[in-house]
Each structure stands twice: as structure tokens, then as C-alpha cells.
């Protein structure tokens, strides 16, 4: 065991850094706030790296475990540990935080300290979700992440930000309140324990399993988001500042997928199996229906938001197919979607910062003025359309392969994304980027700045690397996914 409690560092360092940034106070010290935030974000990423290097991908169970008593009266522990699934998500989270700080560097010019602090604190809290092995601790982190995002949308958002922030908050809160009841039920029926490990062993009658499953399902389905509880996402994205959209799409949605993997499947496997058809159907609706809805969008951010929902459909589909290639594919899809959606929202941000419009109709012929930007945007658009050689392909491919093992029609409907994904992405690209210069505003555009090029290059490398050589990503997942599937296969009916 390491001398330094690594997981605690990964959680609390960004939070402390965020608090420190808050202390820089008003915008007179904006420069200092930015610098401090960057240092904090990079430090947060650096301290997460030993998790990758020190992770033993052949070992079963959780690693880097920390366990301290927290609330004695209720037998609550500060219990942390990670497996391969959490490892990848933590790294993605820390990485995205750095990007977001850089992306907001110039664009945010009011309440800079608070903006930066919100993201740092959010990053730490989300790491907490991915590390927690205690039910109450998990719930606290899970709910706490709402607050910074609520503030980000509500304060730095667009004109309709209050509606969007409230919708976001109430939607997700409504979902997770039922999850709290499920947690209390599990606490009581396990004889007073919040430990995931106790819950994994706990026999639960079928009817109760179904109720617990549904309670969890609502919480996580809202987060993912799954059809039909997805309508908060397009509004939230449209109103959120670029950084908010990036974190929302890249990490926050993954809390839902992670919740299914960490709680639903292993704790109530029989209900998960019994209700898998229901989840699969909803996921396929997400792929096809939302894919079609995305075609109808005239706002770039809304379009990418719908595209996100459609891609997250692959995550829930893969998880509930219960075979290793599909589940691994779902996790890979989460990571890949983190890169791609972040990249696409940053691309829209780049345009928005210059034109202050997200309407597709206001653009046209951007390539004439911004060829470098157009190249990056093309790469990410193609990745979004699942082009092989980019990360977008890997997860979709794996899930479709896994689906064909279970049912031909699952694979058939999932593969519809090949056409729909390409249609809505490329049609948007065509209308925005190609063509002759559409108007004077487009004619006045400048190509990427050095700062913008920096994060485009970094994301491009990630997208391509993961597409060309995804083996390292799945390698850390094998044992964790096998453990998980073994759990699911074992009935827990008493």
C-alpha cells in the first residue's frame, strides 16, 4: 500500500485547490485565479497518474483501498477503492478538468474565481463518486456534484439559464431521491451496513430486487440520460457555458452508466436480468429515435446534445447485454464519448466565442476562413459518426458485436447509428463548414488561436490513439468486467 492515500488525494486535492481559488476573490485577481486553477487542475491530473501506473490489471477486486470510520452511529465508513472501470473514468475526469480550465481561460471574464473553483470542486466530487465503496458516501458525492453544475449553468449560462438549471436540478434530484430510499432499504436489510461489499453478498427477494432496481434505475437513467427522461440535457447544454457542456457530456453523464455497473448489476442481479429487455428497448429507442430527432435540430449544441443521448444509448445497451465484449464496449464508449463530446462542444464553443450564435443557419463556409479549425472539426465529426480509426468506432463496434450474440434485431437497430449518426453529424458539418462564405460575420472569422489549437491537438491525439490502439484501455477492464459478470450470473434470491 502506498504511503500517500492516493484516492483521497485525487478527491480532495482539486476540492482544496478550488477553495483556494475562491479565496482569490473578485475579478481584480482573475489572472491569479486562472493560474491557480490551472495548477490545481494539472496537479489533480498528475496525482491521478500513479493510479494508472500502479494499477494491477490482473488483480481481482478493488485496489488502493482506504477505509476509515466516518459516522459511527450509522456504521458509515469513508471507504474508497477503485477497479479498472473507475480507473478509466477518474483519469478521464482529471484530464477533462484541465481542458475545461484552459477552454475557459479567456472566454470567462466575470466571476472567474468562482467559475474555476466550481469546476475544480466538481472534479473532486466526481472522483469521489468513482472511488466510493460505501453507500452513503457514494450518495453524498453523487448528490453534491449537482450543486457546482447547477451554479455553473445558472450563473454563466445563456439567456434561458434559470429554466435550464432548475430543470437539470429537479430532474436529477427527483431521480436520486428514490435511490436514497433504496439505499436505506439495503442498509436496513443488510443489518446496518452501507458497505458495497456487504450489499453484493446480500440475498434479496425478487419483488424487493425489482423495487430496488427501479429506484436505482430512475436515478441513473436520468443521469445517463435515457429516453424518456432525457429532455433536461438539451436544455442544459444549450444554456450552459462551453466548459459546463464539456464536463456535463464528458463526465457527468457517465455517473449514470457507472451507477448501473457499480450498484444495479451486482446488488440486484436477478432484477437486472429480468428487466434487461426493458432497458435494452429504451436504449435502442435512444439510438434510433434520438438519432432522428437530432436530424431535426437547428441549434448546434442541441444537435450535439441529442447525439450524446444517442451515443449514451450504446452505453446502457452494452451494459444490459451481459456479455463481456458488450460491457467492455459500453465502458469504452463512455470514455470515447468523453473525448468526442468534449471536442465537439469545444468546437461549437470556438465558433460561439466568435459569432455568438449557435444556430446552424447563421453559418456556412467557415472552412474558407478557418481551415485549421475545419480540419479538427472534421476529425471529431467523423469520430462522432463512428469512423474506424477513431475512438468513436471502438465502443459502438464492440457493443454491436455483443448485441449480435444476443439477438440479431438488437444489433440491427443499434447499427442504424451508422447511418443516422453520419447523417446528422455530416449534415451539420456541411451546413456550418462547407460552402461559400455565407455572410459578413463568417467572412470576419479568425482561425484557431494557439490556446485553442492546444486543446484540439490534445483531444485529436486521444481520439486517434484510442481508435488505432484501444488495447491498453480494455486491458485494465478485463478482470473488473469479468468479476462483474460473475456477480450478475449468480442469483441472489434467498
Amino acid at each position: 500500500m502506498n504511503a500517500l492515500p492516493l484516492l483521497s488525494t485525487v478527491i480532495w486535492l482539486p476540492i482544496l485547490a478550488g477553495i483556494a481559488v475562491l479565496f482569490t476573490g473578485s475579478d481584480r485577481n482573475a489572472g491569479l485565479a486562472r493560474l491557480l486553477a490551472l495548477v490545481g487542475a494539472i496537479a489533480g491530473f498528475v496525482v491521478a497518474l500513479p493510479l494508472w501506473t500502479g494499477f494491477d490489471s490482473s488483480a481481482s477486486g478493488f485496489q488502493f483501498v482506504e477505509r476509515e470510520q466516518w459516522i459511527q452511529a450509522f456504521n458509515v465508513y469513508y471507504h474508497l477503492g477503485i477497479d479498472g472501470i473507475s480507473l478509466l473514468l477518474i483519469l478521464l475526469n482529471c484530464f477533462t478538468t484541465v481542458l475545461v480550465v484552459i477552454a475557459g481561460w479567456k472566454v470567462i471574464d466575470s466571476r472567474v474565481a468562482q467559475y474555476m473553483a466550481a469546476f475544480l470542486i466538481l472534479s473532486g466530487l466526481m472522483n469521489g463518486v468513482f472511488c466510493a465503496l460505501d453507500g452513503l458516501l457514494f450518495y453524498v458525492f453523487f448528490e453534491a456534484t449537482l450543486i457546482p453544475m447547477f451554479i455553473v449553468i445558472g450563473v454563466w449560462g445563456g439567456p434561458n439559464r434559470v429554466y435550464a438549471a432548475l430543470k437539470f436540478f429537479l430532474y436529477t434530484l427527483m431521480g436520486s431521491l428514490l435511490a436514497l430510499i433504496a439505499l436505506i432499504y439495503l442498509y436496513l436489510s443488510s443489518g446496518g451496513s452501507f458497505s458495497f461489499f456487504d450489499w453484493y453478498m446480500l440475498p434479496i427477494p425478487f419483488a424487493a430486487q425489482v423495487l430496488v432496481f427501479l429506484a436505482f434505475f430512475l436515478a441513473f437513467a436520468v443521469k445517463v440520460p435515457m429516453v424518456p427522461v432525457h429532455t433536461w440535457l438539451p436544455d442544459a447544454h444549450v444554456e450552459a457555458p462551453t466548459g459546463g457542456s464539456v464536463v456535463l457530456a464528458a463526465i457527468m453523464l457517465k455517473l449514470g452508466g457507472y451507477g448501473f455497473l457499480r450498484l444495479s448489476l451486482p446488488i440486484v442481479p436477478d432484477a437486472s436480468q429480468a428487466l434487461s429487455g426493458f432497458v435494452i428497448v429504451l436504449s435502442l429507442i435512444a439510438v434510433v429515435y434520438i438519432g432522428l430527432v437530432a436530424l431535426a435540430q437547428s441549434d448546434m449544441k442541441k444537435l450535439i446534445a441529442y447525439s450524446s443521448i444517442s451515443h449514451m444509448g450504446f452505453v446502457t445497451l452494452g451494459i444490459f447485454l451481459f456479455n463481456s465484449i458488450a460491457v467492455e464496449g459500453a465502458i469504452i464508449q463512455m470514455i470515447s464519448h468523453g473525448f468526442i463530446s468534449a471536442a465537439l462542444f469545444l468546437c461549437v464553443g470556438v465558433l460561439y466565442d466568435r459569432m455568438h450564435s449557435r444556430q446552424i443557419a447563421d453559418y456556412g463556409g467557415v472552412v474558407n476562413r478557418m481551415p485549421v479549425f475545419a480540419s479538427f472539426f472534421m476529425l471529431f465529426a467523423m469520430a462522432n459518426a463512428g469512423l474506424p480509426g477513431t475512438s468513436g468506432f471502438v465502443g459502438e463496434f464492440m457493443v454491436i458485436m455483443g448485441a449480435a450474440k444476443v439477438n440479431f434485431w438488437y444489433a440491427f437497430l443499434a447499427a442504424a447509428t451508422l447511418i443516422l449518426g453520419a447523417a446528422y453529424t455530416l449534415w451539420m458539418y456541411k451546413r456550418v463548414v462547407f460552402g461559400a462564405v455565407a455572410n459578413d460575420h463568417v467572412a470576419a472569422l479568425d482561425d484557431l488561436s494557439a490556446r485553442e489549437t492546444l486543446f484540439m491537438v490534445v483531444l485529436a491525439i486521444c481520439v486517434l490513439f484510442m481508435g488505432i490502439y484501444p488495447a491498453p484501455f480494455t486491458e485494465v477492464l478485463h478482470v473488473s468486467v469479468n468479476d462483474l459478470l460473475a456477480h450478475v450470473a449468480k442469483s441472489k434470491l434467498p
Binding site: P228, L292, M398, A411, H478
Partner: protein, 677 residues
């Protein structure tokens, strides 16, 4: 040797990266020098590999492990046998020629470096496709060539037609890929591997298996897989009804029409099916499907070519028709004949396209053949090479196209699949059609009266003109391809004519290899043919050598059909040039249907494109906006608001309201107490 294998695809990739990323740094000369040098390296390496393979050395191995998931391992690897080695040589050779040609054709284009980067990238992707030893890499190459095709069709991105065509091409291909990926998924689901050797090793187990697609109906698994895979081929190789993208792809610069949309990429589907021959041989249903689709494509697209006036579109429809021939060959289990025709077609069609490009330059981007004529004396080299290619295309004995096409026709005649009779009718009839449209092109372009106005050529309404003008205006380049405006058309520079000459040599001679290639077990184990399907071998029994085949041809139907086609073309377009209009006026319905290409574009635009958009709009407005947000979400918010609105009246804030309620309450309680007592 293994290093050589790697060099073949990686050299063009390096070229693409250098020209693409450092384009501004190395300039125009640097970009074409570096890409062409690396293409020469690739071509040399491909030749060395080819020789090595002819010596009997094949290779099947991994380069690196792409992914391991569960118990499945996906490798990136090469399968080098006679099939892939042949393709490697064809691809690198045509690509090299097109690279050189591009120096002349794109000379003044502002996107010069970008263009070289793209065509090198394309060559890399195509090589990855043909060299693959597994389905994943095949799919990677498959999609990557699609990507580059998309980028190149939309190369002149300011032109609305180009950016419409490239999206259409990508999406139609995606429809094919949809089937292709499902086929791959079924292969993995039932064999547990995507490695060719493993899959083909287990193919006998698949033969007896059934799959229930629609409840209660058991279908042969192999048939389902093969048809799904073939749907992929239909997209990429532009087979009916997924052919619609190819004519529009002519929006791209001519060099890529030659390289991608004639010689190489569109033949990927043919190559793929040949590669999958161990599977297709197990399903007669799938083979029948293939042969019928191919036959429809061959004949009906050939007919459209007759009424086209845009020189590139004639060649494009001709390509569709020739791809139909190859597909028919696949269906007739004459895989080697399909690959043989693929190779000869690559040469003569590349000449036709590059020749057309040469004409287009000479005519200052005029593409309408009605405004050409008599060009023969101005551009003798272009004329001679195109004539050779036309003769080869029409199947005149002695040239490459004759041998490969005749083998296909004979194999179809000898096939006893359901649908083979129809296919034979189509391919035989199409010989006449091919000769007619090819020589219509030659006669209208190079013979007869000069129908262009000298000095005014640039003002003609060529499709290229606007975009070029836009692109040029912006980058302040003059647009004269090295010669003045308004002069008489004259022969293109040597960077253009040399590739034409180099390509017309195999366009003449490649056919002479028919004996060893088709009947000498040239492809060995790479292609599997079930004995009962082997019409080609039966034809081989009568084969007495190249000269024998040529003399024998004089007594066969196809030869005379071909001669008749040329004669009719001569009569209509040289002798009685007034007749075509008369015929068109006489049969207005047929002319209209052909002119509108059977109304496919109109139907697709109306049904699929508009239909899908409307469906998306409808689902969004009804499902998301009205039902979920309007009714459920905002509805429940309103419900809460409404209830709160009622309850609010109880908290009016007036003391006397509260006092009154309290008194009523107290009275009520007291009454209750008394009643109990």
C-alpha cells in the same frame, strides 16, 4: 519481407502526413515530390512482394493486437497471397500514375498540397483494405477509403453540388456498411473470431446452421451473412440500388474519379466478395442474389450511359456497368474472372477518365460533349490512348477488356444458378450497349465537326467553372493550366500524357495473361470454388490460348454485338448526326426515363432524405417537445403550481382570515367534545 509488407501501406501514409501537415512548409513542389517519391517506394515494394508471392511465399500474420475483449482477440495484420499481391500492384501502379497526372491537372488549384495528401491517404487506406487478414481491418480500410472519397468529392467545397454529392456518397455507402457491419457481427457471433483463416476454417460448421430473423422462419445462416456482407459491397461497388452516389461523385476532380471512382475504391466490394469466396460458395441463394444484382446494374446503367452528354458522366455510368459485370462474375463463382476484369478495367477505365480529364483541360473545363467534336487532330496522344481504352472497353478481340469480359460472359452462360439465364441475357446485351456508348463518346468528342467556339471556350457553362473561379478569385491564382485563354484546344503537358501512355500499355496487354490467371490456378487457395459452380473451369477446357480465343470469338455472339454497337455509334454520331434527336423525339418516354436515370435520385430525395428529415422533425416536435416536455415535465410543474395556487389562498396574510378560521376550528372541536360527552 515483413518490413516490405509494412512499407507498402506506410509509405503513402507518410506521404499523406507530410503533404497534409507540412503542406505550407514544403510548398507545392515539395508536396508532389515527397508523395510521388513515396508512392514509387510503395510501388517498388509492392512489386517485390508480388514477385516473392509468385515464388510461392505467402504470409498471414499479425502486426499488432488492436483489442482483446473477453476471449476474442482482434489483430491488425496482413494476409499476403496472390489475391492481395495482385491488388497491391494494381492499386499502387494506378495510384502512382494518378499522382503524376495530378501535377498537370491540379497545377493551378489552391488546394494542391491538400489534394496530394488526400490521394496518398487514400492509397494507404486502400492498401490496408486489400492486405488485411481480418474483418476489422477490412472494415477500417473500407470506411477510410469512404472518408477520403468523401473529402475528395467535396474537394471544391464551395460548390453546392460537390458538398451535396459528397454527403450523399458517404450516406449511401453507410447504408451498405450497415449491412456489412451486421454481417461481420454475425460472423463473430457464430465463429468467435474475425480472423479470415479462423473463420474460413469454421465455415463448414456454419453451413448447416440456421438463424431465425423473423419469428418462426429459419434461414440459412450462411445465406444471411453473405447477403449482409454483399450489401456492403453494393454500397462500395455502387451496385443497384445503391449505385446512386457514383455518378454524383464526378463532382470531384478528375484524377480521383479515375483513381477512386473507377480503378480502385469501387472495386473494393468485388475484392471483398472474392476474398469471402469460401463463404459465398456455401450459399446458392446468396450467389443468385449477387448475380441478379450485378446483371441489373450492368445492363441498366449501361443504357443510361447512352443518353448522357457530360463526358465524365458517360464514363461514370460505364464504370457502374462494368462493376455490374464483375459482380455477375462473382455470382457465377468466376471470382478469378471478376478480379481479372477488375484489373483490366482499372487500366482501361483509368485511361478513359484521365483522358476525359485531359479533354476537359483542353476545353477549359467544358464537360459537355455536345460542345466538343473533332478534337482528334488537336490532341493526338489523348485520342490514341482513349481509343485504345475504348476498344478494350468495348471488348474488341486482342485488347485486355475482351479477354476478361468474354470470360465473364462464358462463365455466366455455363452457370446453372437460378437467375443465371437472366444474367446472361443482360451481360450479352450489354456488350452492344457498351460498344455503343463508348464509341459515342469517342465520336462525339474526337470526330466530326468542331462544335466549340474558338476564343469563347472559357465562357461555356462547364460545371467546374464556377467553383474554380471562386477558389481562384480568393487565392488570386490565375487559371490557365499553362496556356492562354481562348486559344485552340491543344495536347496536354507530358505529366498528363505520360500516365495515359503508361496506363494504356496494360490496357492493351494485361488480357494476354488470361491463360495462367484464369485457368492456371493462379489464385491458389485464396479463392475457393465449389466444383458444381465451376463454369469457368468448363470454359477453360475449351481454352486454347490467347490467339485461339480471339479467333474463336469471331464466331460468337458477343463479338458481333460489340461490332454492331460500334457500327451503330458510327452511323448515329458520324454519318447521320441528325438521327439521335429524331430517335429521342420518337420515344420520349424511354428517353426521359433514361435521361432521368430511372428517377432514382428523385425518389431517394423525396422518400429517404425528405422522409427521414420529416420523421425527425415530427418525432422531435411531438415526442420531445409536446409529450415529454410539454405534457409530462412542464405539465407536472404546472400541476404543482396549480395546486400551490389553490393552497396559497389559505395563506392570504390577513389576520382576520386566520382568526376567522381559528374560531371556526375551535367551535368545531368544542362541538365534537360535547357530542362525545
Amino acid at each position: 519481407m515483413q518490413t516490405l509488407y509494412l512499407i507498402v501501406p506506410l509509405a503513402p501514409l507518410l506521404g499523406a502526413l507530410l503533404a497534409g501537415l507540412l503542406g505550407r512548409l514544403i510548398g507545392r513542389r515539395g508536396a508532389h515530390s515527397v508523395t510521388i517519391a513515396l508512392m514509387i517506394v510503395a510501388f517498388g515494394a509492392a512489386l517485390a512482394v508480388f514477385r516473392d508471392v509468385l515464388d510461392g511465399n505467402t504470409f498471414n500474420g499479425a502486426v499488432y493486437t488492436w483489442l482483446i475483449s473477453g476471449d476474442v482477440r482482434f489483430d491488425i495484420g496482413f494476409l499476403i497471397d496472390r489475391l492481395s499481391a495482385t491488388m497491391m500492384v494494381v492499386v499502387t501502379f494506378v495510384s502512382l500514375m494518378v499522382h503524376i497526372y495530378t501535377i498537370g491537372y491540379m497545377a493551378d488549384d489552391p488546394g494542391y498540397q491538400r489534394f496530394f495528401s488526400y490521394i496518398s491517404l487514400f492509397t494507404f487506406a486502400m492498401l490496408m483494405l486489400v492486405m488485411s487478414n481480418n474483418f476489422v481491418q477490412l472494415f477500417f480500410g473500407w470506411e477510410a477509403v469512404g472518408l477520403v472519397s468523401y473529402l475528395l468529392i467535396g474537394f471544391w467545397y464551395t460548390r453546392p453540388t460537390a458538398i451535396y454529392a459528397n454527403m450523399k456518397a458517404f450516406l449511401v455507402n453507410r447504408v451498405g456498411d450497415f449491412g456489412f457491419l451486421l454481417g461481420i457481427a454475425l460472423v463473430l457471433a457464430y465463429t468467435g473470431s474475425l480472423d479470415y483463416a479462423t473463420v474460413f476454417g469454421k465455415v463448414d460448421q456454419l453451413a448447416g446452421m440456421n438463424i431465425e430473423i423473423f419469428g418462426g422462419h429459419a434461414w440459412s445462416l450462411v445465406t444471411v451473412i453473405c447477403i449482409l456482407l454483399f450489401i456492403g459491397a453494393m454500397g462500395k461497388s455502387a451496385q443497384f440500388p445503391l449505385h446512386v452516389w457514383l455518378p454524383d461523385s464526378m463532382e470531384g476532380p478528375t484524377p480521383i474519379s479515375a483513381l477512386i471512382h473507377a480503378a480502385t475504391m469501387v472495386t473494393a466490394g468485388i475484392f471483398m466478395v472474392a476474398r469471402m469466396s469460401p463463404m459465398f460458395e456455401l450459399s446458392e441463394t446468396a450467389l443468385s442474389f449477387v448475380i441478379v444484382i450485378g446483371a441489373i446494374t450492368a445492363l441498366f446503367m449501361g443504357l443510361v450511359a447512352i443518353v448522357q452528354n457530360d463526358i465524365k458522366r458517360v464514363v461514370a455510368y460505364s464504370t457502374l456497368s462494368q462493376l455490374g459485370y464483375m459482380t455477375v462474375a462473382l455470382g457465377a463463382s468466376a471470382y478469378s474472372a471478376a478480379i481479372f476484369h477488375l484489373a483490366t478495367h482499372a487500366f482501361f477505365k483509368a485511361v478513359l477518365f484521365l483522358g476525359a480529364g485531359s479533354v476537359i483541360i483542353a476545353m477549359h473545363h467544358e464537360q459537355d460533349m455536345r460542345n466538343m467534336g473533332g478534337l482528334r487532330k488537336y490532341m493526338p496522344i489523348t485520342y490514341a490512348t482513349m481509343l485504345i481504352a475504348a476498344l478494350a472497353s468495348a471488348g474488341v478481340p486482342g485488347l485486355s477488356g475482351f479477354f476478361s469480359k468474354d470470360a465473364i460472359i462464358e462463365a455466366t452462360r455455363l452457370s446453372n444458378l437460378p437467375g443465371a439465364g437472366f444474367a446472361y441475357f443482360c451481360v450479352a446485351a450489354c456488350v452492344f450497349v457498351t460498344a455503343l456508348y463508348t464509341f459515342r463518346l469517342i465520336f462525339m468528342t474526337f470526330h466530326g465537326k468542331e462544335r466549340f467556339a474558338v476564343g469563347n471556350a472559357h465562357a461555356a457553362q462547364g460545371e467546374h467553372r464556377d467553383a474554380h473561379a471562386d477558389a481562384h478569385a480568393e487565392h488570386d491564382h490565375s487559371h490557365d493550366h499553362g496556356h492562354g485563354h481562348g486559344g485552340r484546344p491543344h495536347e496536354s503537358p507530358s505529366v498528363v500524357t505520360l500516365p495515359l501512355i503508361a496506363l494504356s500499355i496494360p490496357a492493351i496487354a494485361a488480357g494476354w495473361l488470361i491463360g495462367p490467371v484464369l485457368f492456371g490456378n493462379y489464385f491458389g487457395d485464396a479463392i475457393v470454388v465449389a466444383p458444381e459452380h465451376n463454369g469457368l473451369a468448363e470454359f477453360g477446357k475449351t481454352f486454347t490460348g490467347v490467339l485461339g480465343m480471339m479467333t474463336h470469338a469471331l464466331f460468337t455472339l458477343p463479338f458481333w454485338l460489340s461490332m454492331a454497337g460500334i457500327a451503330v455509334a458510327w452511323f448515329l454520331y458520324i454519318k447521320r448526326t441528325d438521327l439521335p434527336a429524331v430517335i429521342a423525339a420518337r420515344f420520349p418516354l424511354i428517353y426521359r426515363i433514361l435521361d432521368k436515370k430511372y428517377y432514382f435520385d428523385e425518389f431517394n430525395e423525396w422518400f429517404f432524405a425528405r422522409g427521414t428529415r420529416c420523421l425527425g422533425q415530427g418525432l422531435w416536435r411531438f415526442g420531445d417537445v409536446r409529450v415529454i416536455d410539454g405534457f409530462v415535465v412542464n405539465g407536472s410543474a404546472k400541476l404543482v403550481g396549480w395546486m400551490a395556487g389553490i393552497i396559497r389562498h389559505f395563506q392570504s396574510g390577513y389576520i382576520y382570515h386566520y382568526a376567522f378560521t381559528m374560531i371556526i376550528g375551535v367551535l368545531f372541536l368544542i362541538t365534537l367534545l360535547f357530542m362525545q360527552a
